[in-house]
Amino acid sequence: MFKDTEHLIRLAVVIVIAVAAFVVLRAAVIPASFGQYGHYRGAAIAEIAARPIAFAGHDVCEGCHTEEAALKKQGKHVVVACEACHGALARHADDPSALTPPKLDTAVLCARCHEANSAKPKTFPQVVTADHSGGIACDTCHQPHKPKIEDEKPAGGTK
């Protein structure tokens, strides 16, 4: 047919090798799960979901610490999760002996929320701690799990 078919065959071989190299390289470089859900590595979703947790969640705490949970239910702090004050304790929940929760300093802890600030909602109970307690620990008078003092007279400046 043609005079120089050999040239065409050589060219065809080069093209076939180039295409094959491209296909092989592409398969090797692109992760298996790329494109599973969209233009990204689908396996990344499971990898991110597999990260260990730090906060156990109050349901787990209440499973063992039933007394504290019952006391908390009687007061306004029922809405405050355990780890909001006690810190992240998933390691303690997994193995109680592995990590003992540190003792908390109520003079610092309570002020984080209850120190007066004009940007806080007006209905939220706030005090100027220097005037209110003079720096003594809040748990001298208030029990943190049920903060309202039982025989308290209608509050004056100590709302």
């Binding site: 979703i45 991110i48 929320c113 940007a119 939220f124």
Partner: protein, 243 residues
């Protein structure tokens, strides 16, 4: 072995079936969690926020966020009388240690917690040149840190300033909506510790989620709606001065 026509006819469909599994990749980690059954969002009730910084501290602890960087932070706004377009905004160390008493008197003061808005049409995922950031089928914007180049396009693209480059890994980082927690049936670390319920995780695909009743009965806004990002963090009681 010679491959006859008969052999080929058997082998080809078998290879096609096997290739499907190769393409499918690894199955999901949490067997009981179905991506298609959730559509995550968050509700922020500004009148309830007391600026205590619990969320910022919890986020840093849960997600190993380096000091000075924030996946969530709190801003304190001060709006003097009619100057709605010129609010004074401050966020000392992201509000991590709370806020000092406000010296400015008069006008109005309030806190605004901020985090990734997990936009449906997120600008940050659209600019990623390699597909290292994406919206998951359950509506969370995530970063694949093993695939991220650290090119910083997404940091510039986010109109809410929610992204940063982690100085240790040199890859982009942002709020993952505690994806490792919500897929296990827990709430996010910030919502877990919020003492007033100002932050609530919501699943828009769950018809029993209280978010639906809340959205129906409250005046709710999203941040920068004019940017058409499809933000999914809903702010209740937000002042017009909030940027």
């Amino acid at each position: 072995m010679d491959i006859t026509r008969r052999h080929l006819l058997v082998l080809l469909p078998a290879a096609a079936v096997a290739w499907k599994f190769v393409l499918a990749g690894t199955p999901e980690a949490s067997p009981n969690y179905k991506l298609s059954e959730h559509w995550w969002s968050m509700l922020i009730d500004i009148p309830k926020c007391i600026g205590c910084g619990s969320c910022v501290r919890a986020c840093a602890e849960e997600n190993d966020v380096p000091d000075g960087y924030f996946r969530t932070w709190i801003e304190r706004y001060h709006v003097a009388d009619w100057k709605i377009e010129r609010p004074e905004v401050e966020s000392p160390n992201g509000g991590k240690q709370g806020f000092p008493p406000n010296e400015i008197s008069g006008g109005k003061n309030f806190f605004v917690p901020k985090l990734c808005n997990h936009c449906v049409d997120s600008p940050c995922t659209q600019v990623c040149p390699v597909g290292a950031t994406f919206v998951t089928p359950d509506g969370v914007v995530l970063v694949d840190k093993n695939y991220c180049l650290g090119c910083r396009y997404c940091v510039q693209a986010c109109p809410y300033g929610c992204r940063f480059i982690n100085p240790k890994t040199n890859t982009a980082e942002k709020c993952s909506l505690c994806y490792h927690r919500i897929t296990k049936g827990l709430t996010t670390a910030c919502c877990e510790v919020c003492p007033t319920g100002a932050r609530q995780l919501a699943d828009l695909k769950n018809p029993k989620d209280p978010i639906h009743e809340f959205l129906r009965t409250h005046t709710v806004q999203i941040l920068k709606p004019h940017m058409a990002t499809g933000a999914k963090v809903y702010y209740n009681g937000m002042d017009g001065s909030v940027r």
